[in-house]
Amino acid sequence: MRHLTTEQLVDLAEGIETESSTEHVRSCGDCRRRITDLRGTISAVGEVEAPEPSPLFWEHFSARVSDAVESDRGSSGAAPRRRFYLAGARLAEWLGRPVAAVSVSLIVVAVTALLLRSGRPVPAPSASEPVSVTVEAPPGETAASVDDPSLSLVADLAADLDWDSVREAGLTTHIGVDDDALALLTAGERNELRRLLQGELSSSRRGA
């Protein structure tokens, strides 16, 4: 007896039947078993799902592709000077992130220290539409306890800085920066963040 070919077996496993192959399968246990095996494997493999990224990811993905395409277009068609500029910009961006993060942290600490020392608000330079935010120290923590001598160095360093210079240097942060940072986290980092937040929530509930 001549058995079915691999093509015929695949067709039958996928439900495509022809008269001759169907007739053969009725009388051939070997081919029937092979078709059952193929169907079982297809089904088992098909059950493995791929994850669906969040809508936030797609937003960032499209932006990333757009940037990459733009950069690619620039580097392939641009003059060497332009290519040098693009490479420099990328290097500056790469170096700039940690530097900016450290700078913002230093400035925030310094300004906080200065404010707590003086006990008065810092005037807003060119504040066309000022917004006031009141930050209260945790109970038991007074201005004196925050008035750490080690902050003096930071305060001295930041003494000559004015808001416009800080802003022009791109060292300010903005609302929504946490969203952006969240989108850049890996799965493991998000899990860790979730764990920390849940820990905080449950301890605050216990406290309440």
């Binding site: 088992a44 994850p51 608000p121 807003a124 917004v131 201005a143 899990n191």
Partner: protein, 217 residues
């Protein structure tokens, strides 16, 4: 004594008014770029992309990004690499847009680029699968923790087995089972015949059966 500090912030930079506002502005800019393009088919978008019409290629990306990402994920098994590879696929597609003759759909063409990019990557890099629970949407109402663990373990075994398949068998299996391409379409993607695709599919299933046979397949 409780001390209080009052912060006064400038809002003189309109683009720094807040994440939500910035995002709406970005969305509005994107919508402007895509204005009038939405009803066009892929072939027309390719023409407009070649004519440097802003937003045309963005729309191609938007239409196909999910399938391209899923394809890459099936090859590399983790979000990080899949995301990078999917981006690479679109950059290569943009570079090669002038060479797209329209003999196949742009979806098939993107799959072809995707398969090549992925096969080049996975041959150079060991498959790194991530914790599925970290990414997969699991319906906790219908799935018990025990079921979830079993499913997770089975998925890891199947992925590892697929990763062991020869390149063409792996590509055929992924495109057929997960992307539901016809044998004809797979033949176009892989540049082979329908007969060869069916043979590869058959052998891929046989090899998987051998590898997973003793593990509750």
């Amino acid at each position: 004594m409780t001390s209080a500090a009052v912060w006064t912030l400038s809002r003189s930079r309109p683009e720094k008014r807040g994440g939500a506002i910035v995002r709406r502005e970005v969305d509005a800019a994107a919508a402007d770029r895509l204005d009038g393009l939405d009803g066009l088919d892929d072939a027309a978008l390719v023409e407009l992309s070649l004519a440097d019409r802003a937003g045309a290629f963005d729309l191609i990306v938007e239409r196909h990004r999910q399938r391209v990402y899923q394809l890459c994920y099936r090859f590399v098994g983790n979000h990080e690499d899949a995301s990078d590879l999917a981006q690479d696929v679109f950059v290569r597609a943009f570079r090669g847009l002038r060479g797209f003759r329209g003999h196949s759909t742009i979806g098939t063409w993107l799959y072809r680029i995707g398969v090549n990019v992925c096969l080049n990557r996975v041959s150079a890099k060991t498959l790194v699968t991530e914790d599925l629970d970290a990414r997969q949407h699991v319906d906790a109402r219908t799935e018990s923790p025990a079921d979830r663990v079993l499913k997770h373990e089975r998925a890891i075994r199947v992925r590892a087995a697929i990763a062991q398949l020869p390149r063409k068998q792996r590509a055929t299996l992924v495109l057929r089972i997960y992307h539901e391409l016809s044998h004809q379409e797979i033949a176009e993607v892989l540049g082979s015949s329908v007969g060869a695709v069916k043979a590869n599919f058959f052998h891929a299933l046989g090899n998987l059966k051998k590898q997973l046979g003793g593990q509750g397949l």
